[in-house]
């Protein structure tokens, strides 16, 4: 495969494209609203109307406004229809010639769409995820060519470092630094792992990317493999995402056939294979050491770091582990250059981030914005504000994150700003809550989640989350006194400070952040007729009380 061959495939694909393309989202959200039948209806109607060669109905990935699916978009004029039923499909085709369409019409220039960016999702809803040719026609695999044929591995690492890209899996660790570490660590074999476990309940960004544009992730992984010197990649996908697994499997096969993956990528000595590992429903497997244990067929229990995966990962070898969205950013960085990427976002948080906007908000779905965009712009501008009442809080970061009160909606969404107000960026879940949500119950909900998902390896998390859940339940039930509040706070800090892995260390976050901003709701539920004083845990460092982050 040469650049000319790639160009030939792209050219052939473009030449075969009819003047009008009717694109129907068939990703999981729309699929559950019968998108497959809508697509069949569109295809049949086009054939019946004798429009072969003029109009083509195709299956694409997410068109972002998931709550109003199935969504259908007409290219090139951009007309967008929502809630298209299989019965209404023929009218969409008839509508091309000016007939009435029996589906709701959306404004693609409306606030939900116009306020968004398109880097990670640039191909989502445009290319056909099940056809590699379609991705190639959208400049796919050019970045991989450029990397393996025109750049040294060190130059690739350097480019990723200069782009300022940070991990999109939650913690925001600089991606270039991680790549450089894996590249320099010696090992007979090295591995690249894509974390597609997406355990944060209320988030589906990674699923969408995999279902809408799987080749982009594979291309990113292959570039990473070249940069760090790995020949084997794994994508660890959660078992709850069967469609993503299917599309990824198809993509790997198709890329292999064209010599874009496998042995001698683009005719170079570089080999890169990708295999899929399917998760089996354990949140803790999103944690990197647990994930690797799971890939090796074991129980997904975390191990202490160091050693970090970059030193000793899969089978004791240096392993690069990144999130789906992190990899999806890589091809553009290589193709358009790190400076282009670094031009988006803020000083310390570069690029865009995909969020999954859900809960009590008018427009729910997938949202991509430059980092640093104020939270208000996302939930009120793009999201259209709360349905009915007013927004009370926005939850980010899932069970490891916090609840941001309405007063702080002007906070820019970047790693540091969210950290400062007691939440985290997380992987991209953004759940809007209105007055109907009881914040103590929200804290209890997340604690229950962590309690259920604790792997049980270390005591602070295994026993602590159970006790915290009990305390929160007592408060919700109105059976707790002020002493229970003191106990709750003290135990939160204990679990945070002493747990082995990120799950336990962050499990108290939703409780702590609701205590910080919605303390009155807790206090209103307390009984005042009981008062017992209990010893309170104070963390110490060499005998002096340690400084504690709020």
């Amino acid at each position: 495969m040469e650049l000319a061959d790639l160009a030939a495939i792209a050219e052939k694909e473009r030449a075969a494209r009819p003047p009008v393309e009717v694109r129907c989202c068939t990703a999981a959200g729309c699929a559950s609203a019968q998108a497959d039948k809508v697509l069949d209806g569109l295809k049949k109607a086009a054939a019946d109307a004798g429009l072969d060669g003029k109009v083509r109905a195709v299956s694409v990935g997410c068109l972002r406004l998931c709550s109003r699916g199935p969504l259908v978009q007409v290219d090139p004029d951009g007309t967008l229809y929502a809630n298209v039923t299989p019965e209404a499909a023929p009218s969409v085709i008839a509508g091309l010639a000016g007939g009435p369409v029996a589906a709701e019409r959306l404004d693609p220039a409306g606030p939900f769409f116009a306020g968004q960016a398109s880097v990670v999702l640039e191909n989502s809803g445009r290319v056909e995820p099940e056809r590699v040719e379609s991705y190639i026609a959208a400049d796919g695999y050019k970045a991989l060519y450029k990397a393996v044929r025109e750049m040294t591995p060190a130059e690739v690492v350097e480019a990723v470092t200069r782009s300022g890209l940070r991990g999109r899996g939650g913690a925001g660790y600089p991606t270039g630094v991680k790549w450089a570490t894996v590249a320099k660590n010696p090992g007979d074999r090295k591995y690249v792992v894509c974390n597609a476990d997406e355990g944060d309940p209320g988030a589906f960004m990674n699923r969408s990317v995999l279902e809408s544009d799987p080749h982009k992730v594979l291309e990113g992984m292959a570039i990473a493999g070249y940069a760090v010197g790995a020949n084997q990649g794994y994508v660890y996908v959660r078992g709850e995402y069967p469609l993503a697994i299917d599309r990824l499997t198809t993509a790997i096969k198709q890329a292999g056939k064209l010599g874009l993956l496998g042995t001698h990528v683009f005719g170079t000595p570089f080999d890169f294979r990708v295999d899929i590992r399917i998760g089996a429903g354990a949140f803790v497997c999103g944690e990197e050491t647990a994930l690797m244990a799971s890939i090796m067929g074991g129980r997904g229990t975390p191990t202490p770091r160091p050693p970090y995966p970059a030193e000793k990962g899969l089978w004791g070898m240096p392993t690069l582990l990144n999130n789906v969205e992190t990899f999806a950013n890589v091809p553009r960085i290589i193709r358009d250059g790190p400076e282009w990427f670094a031009g988006i976002g803020t000083e310390k948080s570069k690029g865009t981030k995909v969020f999954c906007l859900t809960g009590k908000v008018a427009n729910t779905g997938l949202v991509e914005v430059p980092l640093g965009t104020p939270l208000r712009t996302i939930v009120e501008g793009i999201g259209g504000g709360a349905q009915g009442g007013a927004i009370k809080a926005v939850q980010t970061g899932g069970p490891s994150g916090g609840c941001i009160p309405a007063e702080l909606l002007d906070t820019p969404v970047d790693y540091e700003s969210l950290g400062k107000i007691g939440s985290i960026m997380g992987s991209g879940g953004m759940i809007v809550m209105d007055g109907a949500s009881d914040m103590v119950d929200v804290a209890r909900y997340f604690m229950e989640f962590c309690m259920d998902e604790s792997c049980g390896k270390c005591v602070p998390c295994r026993a602590g989350t159970v006790q915290l859940h009990r305390l929160l339940t007592r408060i919700v039930d109105g059976a707790a006194g002020p002493d229970d509040m003191a106990r709750l706070e003290s135990l939160c800090h204990m679990v945070k400070d002493t747990s082995l892995c990120g799950l336990g260390q962050t499990a108290p976050n939703p409780t702590l952040s609701t205590l910080r901003y919605f303390r009155k709701e807790y206090e209103a539920k307390l009984r005042t007729d009981r008062r017992v004083h209990l010893p309170v845990y104070t963390p110490t460092v060499n005998g002096t009380p340690a400084r504690r982050t709020p």
Partner: protein, 174 residues
Amino acid sequence: MPTAPPAAEARPVPHPSGDKRFKLLEVAMKKHQFRPDALIEVLHAAQQLFGYLELDLLLFVARHLKLPPSRVYGVATFYHFFALKPRGRHTCVVCTGTACYVKGADGLLAALRREAGVGPGETTPDDNLSVLTARCIGACGIAPAVVLDGTVKGHVTADALAAEMKGWVPGGTG
């Protein structure tokens, strides 16, 4: 902790029952060269073939992958996906992820208890229906979501779910 993958040679010990599915499972294991680190893939395949993982089945897997039975049992019980008990003829998975929680997943569980008399993790006495919960199935955009026999349904109301259940739980239990 698993070590480097050993090149285990095939060691076919057919299952005494003569059940064809064991043969298919052996084929699946062979595809992974009987590597112990393919345990999770093998258990996925086994559950797909048999519906759930019986102890006898776990022993069969342990022997073929040359793993101690404790290890196989430990892995099978660690992950929520693996069922060690048979499930009902129909399954209803209610998502209790955050987006669904905010949009009233509790109401759906209450409706199921009312209509079918069973809660999360339970199966009706006539084996018709198992109610399960999941922590986010990635359909948050259409919350609250349920999965009825493998088909995802979004924007579900308690009444709609109760109506669905009428066909599965004859007469209901009150």
